[in-house]
Symmetry: C2
Subunit: 327 residues, 2 copies
């Protein structure tokens, strides 16, 4: 059985290292082929492990003394806090062959800046943040960028297309990912200046399966596998989708309570499962040497377990891809 | 009883003048204080009216021989097609004191260009397209711009704020409309270049109730009355909201059919009513001398009836506002 070793930074989130460690141990329980390296406060991590009775042979602990969180200036933190769990985990990801991926739930800004500094892809790319969102037609839509790059130029958007295509090929087993460009109309003439420029470049790329513009109402339809956009508009699509889905689920709950119909409350739970974007997809840092998943700052133990499963699946798919056993 | 006369352009939509005329007559039926001026093919309009037995004393027909539709170049059409229902209706709106507002369901581009040419506000403003969308907390959010101005500068966004505030004051009885700026974070430091520039200007305006940045998940929450954004991002919020709402309603229907629970099918209808953005809100052209509502190109008779009621309500509110009877 192939083993997959992933690094988990348990520090810097809203819920503290105990919670994240428990989530990581649960993932170990669920997957026999998983091994973990936990970066963070050694004493706390040790305590949680000893209480759990987990299989120590599949756990490595790297004790660290500093923490990077949302109150830090990202650039300063990644240079100055050399013994932080974030910097140590990123350095290990970049330098150790046995570590295949990383999960982090602290500062997005520091994670992005640090990933470029300590674990860049070759050629070095400015990192982007993709969201893997459930498509209406099934599977996932890779929305990139979702907020790491707010003001973009056309070259960056083209790079997002390539990074998204690579991600969906390697880690999601999509043969020729369909690349869509978010716009305000389906016609090639529609779009702001950035979108029109990007459209013209993408249309000429023979090595990309560019299918043209996608409108907002089809952003998550599944008409494309990768939806390319600047981080400002992508952030709107991501957060607006979450907001509207939550709102309708609230309406369903209200209606269920009013009518006293238990089946409707069950339906609300069903919908909440379908549209829990945080634990379902997760945000993937792109432009890095190996996959990094950014869990939400408010991630609970279950989120870390789910994120670990997602990363493990990605790694297994990539093995198939590299081994030419792909499709 | 005060009478309100509105112009309705029955040409250039997907469904033909018979359907739009029927919708207009139904609105007459529902509102005793409504009068209509129908612009379009005289023979068709006359036929529909005579078949309906409607009250002729409240109907005026302006026969026109040309049609502007989505296949026309907007700028060319509004200059060359002088006997089109669109140009004749806009000229009447700008020139006749008795006509208080206009409904149109043809080409958005031609309507916007024509409104600036034939019925501008003083001072002349570049028109914008606002959507009045149902807020989660009740009432409406005025989202501006939704696609009329794709590449914007900060001055335009500030103008959107003023036009939106005016609209919500005059026509929606909101005393001091709360102005929000769509961004990727609530903090003033968040946003793309355009948003940061706009934020700085809006923050200094003493005559606007600017409440700061609003994130995509709160776009339609009702935390603000006017949500200011460029037409590209606004188009994403509008269409993405529609897309996600429709998707969840489809999920509800599927679940209802699977479980055979009739109450769930009723719930789906309830939700479809709450989130039918087309017939609920309608798009308002701003920067014009009098209110213009752009109905969807696929508008059916009911849409025109609903849009007429919406326009009539706006006009009545404005009367209260002008007569100082406001709040």
């Amino acid at each position: 059985m192939n083993k997959y070793k992933i690094a988990i930074d348990v520090m810097g989130s809203d819920n503290g290292p105990e919670v994240l460690t428990r989530g990581a141990l649960k993932a170990l329980d669920e997957h026999d082929d998983l091994e973990i390296v936990l970066f963070g406060d050694e004493k706390t991590v040790e305590e949680v492990i000893s209480q759990s009775g987990a299989d120590r042979s599949r756990i490595e602990i790297v004790g660290t003394t500093e923490v990077v969180d949302n109150y830090d200036n990202p650039m300063e933190a990644i240079y100055k806090k050399q013994d932080s769990s974030l910097v140590r985990a990123l350095t290990a990801l970049g330098g150790r062959d046995d570590i295949a991926g990383l999960i982090n739930a602290s500062s997005t800004g520091a994670l992005l800046a640090g990933s470029l500094r300590y674990a860049p892809a070759r050629p070095i790319r400015r990192p982007a943040l993709a969201a893997l969102l459930p498509a209406q037609k099934g599977g996932f839509v890779c929305l990139v960028d979702t907020g790491a790059n707010i003001d973009c130029n056309a070259e960056q958007l083209v790079d997002f297309a390539y990074m998204g295509a690579e991600l969906m090929k390697k880690y999601y087993k999509i043969d020729e990912p369909r690349i869509g460009l978010l716009s305000n109309g389906a016609e090639p003439t529609k779009g702001n200046k950035l979108v029109k420029e990007t459209h013209a470049i993408l249309a000429d790329k023979k090595d990309l399966n560019f299918i043209g513009n996608i409108e907002g109402n089809k952003a998550l339809s599944g008409d494309c596998d990768v939806l390319v956009t600047d981080g400002f508009a992508g952030n709107q699509v991501l957060k607006n989708s979450e907001g509207i889905a939550k709102r309708l689920i609230t309406d369903v709950v209200t209606y269920g309570k009013k009518t006293g119909n238990d089946e409707i409350i069950k339906l609300a739970h069903h919908l909440a499962g379908l549209y829990d974007f945080n634990s379902l997809g997760g945000a993937v840092v792109m432009g890095v040497c190996k996959p990094i998943i950014k869990a939400h700052g408010a991630a609970n133990a279950d989120s870390i377990t789910n994120t670990s499963s997602m990363l493990l699946n990605m790694l297994k798919n990539n093995d198939l891809f590299n081994g030419k056993d792909f499709r």
